[in-house]
């Protein structure tokens, strides 16, 4: 599903440049539940952004669903994101003036689905995250955990191949963290590839494979107990 070969990325800082990713090789197959661990500055967010087509890499090859990602323009990237990827962000990134239901329906708007259909689908997904009753509330009327569940419903609504979660529990307390992780596990059980970035060991432990990153290189890549238990 995701295949990365010798990926390099640096950011210019003034005259110098900061080499963030120094040759990453990573292969994630369909249906995997992978977490990327690392302290801040390890390059894990950069990796996710490149995988999520939100940013471009400098060197190396990246294949998404077998397709080589190269010379992407914004339009093509946007279409691929809409088709293959679902995002869950640490800060939820819901649009503040839209209701929960409208937020979930938004990716379907960009897919070109008509309003009636998209609101129906969106309500269905809100139901799956147990927020059907909150459909017409604005984000600021929801708790952190509820917001993240709305964001997850939004990530899932286009039936993406891969769900990318950037510190999905970073802004949540432990109880809500568990409910969000349960939700991600459910998604993975249904066959979707889930790619989580975290710095919390407990969160990583709930995934099936942990890739540890330090200073822009992979230092370990192993299956977890959860994976072995299956």
């Amino acid at each position: 599903m995701i295949k990365i070969e010798q990926l390099h990325k640096s950011y210019p800082i003034g005259k110098d440049s900061l080499h963030v990713l120094k040759g990453i090789d990573l292969h994630i197959k369909e249906g995997e539940f992978v977490s990327i661990m690392g302290s801040s500055g390890s390059g894990k967010s950069t990796l996710l952004n490149i995988v999520g087509l939100l940013d471009v890499h400098d060197e190396g090859n990246y294949y998404l669903n077998g397709q080589l990602i190269k010379d992407m323009n914004e339009k093509k990237a946007a279409q691929l994101r809409n088709k293959f990827l679902g995002f869950v962000f640490q800060s939820f990134n819901l649009i503040s003036y839209k209701t929960a239901l409208e937020n979930v329906a938004l990716p379907l708007y960009y897919k070109g689905i008509n309003r009636k259909e998209r609101l129906k689908i969106a309500l269905d997904y809100l139901d799956q995250v147990e927020l059907k009753d909150w459909a017409n509330h604005l984000p600021n009327e929801l708790s952190g955990g509820q917001k993240q569940r709305v964001a997850i419903a939004r990530a899932l609504v286009t039936k993406p191949k891969v769900v990318l979660a950037d510190e999905p529990t970073g802004a949540l307390d432990s109880t809500t963290t568990d409910s969000v992780m349960d939700l991600l596990k459910d998604i993975n059980d249904k066959g979707m590839t889930v790619f989580v970035i975290t710095h919390e060991e407990e969160v990583a432990a709930q995934t099936k494979r942990i890739v540890r990153l330090k200073d822009g290189v992979i230092i370990s890549d192993e299956l977890t107990k959860a994976a072995k238990a299956v």
Partner: protein, 410 residues
């Protein structure tokens, strides 16, 4: 292309961000309001100027004579110049193809009497064409005709106010009035837009006057209407030519303005035309400046708005929005706001102009100020274009920000 979903997005965005929308609309509305008022007021001024000349035909010319002020060919200064039928016919023959209407004019001051009512009035002895030169409006009966002149008939056309003075509510047409001791038949009653003085007056045939009062062929003035097909410049040249020819014919020094002069409406028209042209140019300059200021205002607000929404755009892009859909959305929103705001400004402006109406005519020479449909359409196009530009430039830039940077924005 009509995309209901797109409109729904836009209305939601406008509705949820009312203050922002109102702010950006306000600058445009205000600019258009000023533009409309400026244009309306100048058109009002223009109307007043046109109205000031409404009394006489726009193409009228007058040959007038007084005393000479310069000696010429051994003739003394102070000689009184007299126009005669001969001069009248000379003008008619010499410039036949440059003249639309021609009339002689003799000024008299007579007491007109009907039964017990009597009063003194200006009486003008004229030719039939005079009706068109003076824009005399016939309310009842008819004006003088060629037959009246041929037969030197004692017919009289009286002004509306003369009729009111002498006849009151009673009918006057076909009645006989006593003019300076002779009996005249009232053949017509007229009104005139030139005001009360023009309506407290009467017309008689020029031939009758020459026969009855002096038995000579004197005339006081020659009144002409130049051929309207002539351009202003050619009409002015015609007037100058006629002035030179007549001075020559009457043995007047070529530069003697006080002996004979031709007053030519073409010159006045040209002057007014130039004046209004300059006024309009100034207004267009100021008006466009105001519009440009409005456009810059909305552009600034749009830049701010788009900065504020950068994160939202980032989210939308992460969810699959292509850049063009974001640019399209912003531009459409901007065009919508400018168009609505502009129309509010335009409507308010025209409403104020209607309220002003003719109330400023007396003191400020502003009569019936209004904006023409052409201006309205032009302003609308400018509005839509300005909305396009104001939205497009910053939106294009925002859409090109990498989504990762947009998402980081706060």
């Amino acid at each position: 292309m009509f995309d209901l979903d797109r409109w729904r997005e836009i209305f939601q965005s406008i509705n949820k961000n009312r203050l922002r929308s109102v702010m950006s609309g306000f600058t445009v509305a205000f600019a258009i309001l000023l533009f409309t008022l400026l244009f309306g007021i100048v058109s009002g001024l223009s109307n007043s100027f046109k109205g000031a000349f409404a009394d006489d035909a726009q193409n009228s010319m007058r040959v007038r004579v007084w005393k000479t002020s310069k000696p010429f060919k051994g003739l003394q200064t102070g000689r009184r110049i007299q126009l005669r039928n001969d001069d009248y016919n000379y003008v008619a023959d010499e410039y036949a193809n440059k003249i639309q209407y021609q009339s002689a004019r003799i000024y008299k001051n007579f007491t007109i009497k009907y039964k017990n009512e009597a009063s003194t009035y200006n009486v003008r002895a004229v030719n039939p064409d005079h009706q068109f030169l003076e824009k005399t409006i016939i309310d009842e009966g008819r004006f003088l005709n060629e037959r009246d002149l041929r037969e030197k008939s004692k017919s009289i056309v009286i002004g509306r106010l003369v009729k009111e003075d002498l006849f009151g509510e009673r009918p006057a047409l076909g009645k006989r009035v006593n003019v300076n001791g002779s009996s005249y038949l009232v053949i017509g009653i007229f009104s005139d837009e030139g005001g009360d003085n023009e309506e407290r007056m009467a017309y008689i045939p020029v031939t009758t006057a020459q026969m009855m009062y002096g038995n000579n062929d004197y005339i006081s003035q020659i009144v002409l209407g130049y051929n309207p097909n002539l351009s202003l410049d050619r009409a002015i040249a015609f007037g100058n030519q006629m002035e030179r020819d007549l001075r020559k014919k009457l043995n007047i020094h070529p530069d003697d303005q006080s002996a004979l002069s031709v007053r030519n409406m073409a010159e006045a028209n040209k002057g007014v035309g130039q004046f209004m042209g300059i006024l309009y140019a100034i207004v267009i300059l100021i008006g466009s400046g105001t519009l440009v200021a409005g456009i810059i205002g909305i552009s600034n607000i749009m830049i701010f708005v788009i900065k504020e929404r950068t994160k939202e755009f980032g989210i939308r892009k992460a969810l699959g929005a292509v850049p063009s859909s974001i640019v399209g959305m912003v531009v459409q929103e901007s065009v919508l706001i400018t168009t609505i705001a502009g129309y509010l400004g335009l409507s308010l402006g025209t409403y104020i102009l209607t309220l002003i109406g003719d109330s400023l005519e007396e003191d400020y020479f502003i009569k019936d100020p209004s904006v023409s449909p052409g201006i309205v359409i032009g302003a609308t196009i400018v509005l839509i274009l300005s909305g396009l530009i104001a939205g497009y430039v910053p939106a294009k830039r925002a859409a090109n920000i990498k989504p990762i940077e947009a998402l980081r924005a706060d």
